[in-house]
Symmetry: C2
Subunit: 304 residues, 2 copies
Amino acid sequence: MSGLQVLLVAGTHGNEVNAPWLFEEWSKKPWLINTNGLSVCKVIGNPLAYKSCRRYLERDLNRSFLFGSCDAQSNKAYEFERARELLSLFGSSSDQPCQLCIDFHSTTAAMGSCLVVYGRRPADLALASLMQARLGLPVYLHEGDYSQTGFLVEAWPCGVVVEIGPVPQGILNAKIVEQTHIALEACLGEIAKARSRMSNFPKQLVIHRHLGSLDFPRDSEGKVESFIHSSLDGADWHPLCSGAPLFISSDGDVQRFYEDESVVPVFINEAAYMEKNIAMSLTKREVWPFSNKWSLALEDLIQD
Amino acid sequence: MSGLQVLLVAGTHGNEVNAPWLFEEWSKKPWLINTNGLSVCKVIGNPLAYKSCRRYLERDLNRSFLFGSCDAQSNKAYEFERARELLSLFGSSSDQPCQLCIDFHSTTAAMGSCLVVYGRRPADLALASLMQARLGLPVYLHEGDYSQTGFLVEAWPCGVVVEIGPVPQGILNAKIVEQTHIALEACLGEIAKARSRMSNFPKQLVIHRHLGSLDFPRDSEGKVESFIHSSLDGADWHPLCSGAPLFISSDGDVQRFYEDESVVPVFINEAAYMEKNIAMSLTKREVWPFSNKWSLALEDLIQD
């Protein structure tokens, strides 16, 4: 039996119900997912929030893995406690230490299926490259955003988020379940191949590097006074050129994008980000040559 | 000044944010909506739920207008209190008695814009006929459903619900705001014409009469074990013929519709109805000849 264990998380946000539903079905029907011979631990990230179909109870679990912070160490908020519990169950000092973590989410934004990586950990980039080569998924590199930290997958040596949308919060959707299923099996397939040193690493990785986020235009009292322009609605991953409409007010005033260089918007009008004052995030599309350091880091981590 | 006052309600469900946002903009920009000279009272139905972007705090406000029930009279749940408060503000014994009520909602289901009437009150059917003739909206007649009662508009002499979708809960959407705006002005326009006895009542009303609701297939523990089949997803208002797929399980088992007569499904996979164990409602499309009793009832109610 290999020492390699892969942690699979669903329902880190309790109102993103498709992946946790698939996990529950998988528990009832072990043949449902081909694990490619890997040892996996699967867990509902935030079971209490999932039960009440809310994103979280007290704070966002996916911003609660903040173990450098004294406050987070002692804070009694349910999600801080759950973060500590997940690490005690599946972290490096636990009885079931997992080396890799895949965290399954859904979006209300029209993102399709994509991956999110946090920072530039070499093993994450290797795994993302394999997934992109296999399924063609766009990769969003979230970095340099000091207002958003403490993501779950960062607490494991290697980890990526799978985001699938669009789907409203709280409902099961045939396509979203199917795409989650495909991404899950593809991910396990690529990890299994990497463990056997059979991977076909690609020559390059196309990433969408986080530049920053845009809030909605607001009035003097802080109220949203314009919404996403209909030409931008659902246009995630499509480059924004200078002059493109961004927002429109109730009486038709249009606010446009003016920059010399085009950017690529993602998470446009994501319901969960209203409370974070994010109307969309802006990224720059870059093609990075594949680095051997990435594949070595991944292979080192998952060899028996 | 006419004694006629029209009550306009938005945010009866706090996570249906497009109509309340439009109402707030309207407060800042009085020119935004053409009221056709009518006196209107506009109100956020459930302001506390709207503030926290939840459907409700303790119970569904739109099932809380249950004044025949002793329990509802004395119950301290916030939504029961708010129901009593709304009636004390705009009911027949209040300082601002309203004769008509229009309640603006949104759906995650792909319902487009439509009207809902509860029961067969003649004035409701007259108003719905005028709106259907003007905008072509389908009308859902909700009746005979003893598991769901206490709807807000039923507490006023005449009232209809405007439902607009699809939009995920909690987000502003350009098209949904625009359609809400159109429906709102059309409704006020038709009421103004009826007050002046200038209405062109149509010869018929096409209704979709509620037959019942279908729950998701569940396992022995009550867990949802199949979801809406992808061919049915988004197919609200399209007749279901015998043999059509309804649900599919995680391992591909399909459950089909078998009835001699076709029915028309609505509220397919509506996020808000998961907790009510409703996967969809089934209706029968019927063409009713317009009755003079309907127009007389409406005109009686709104004459000065």
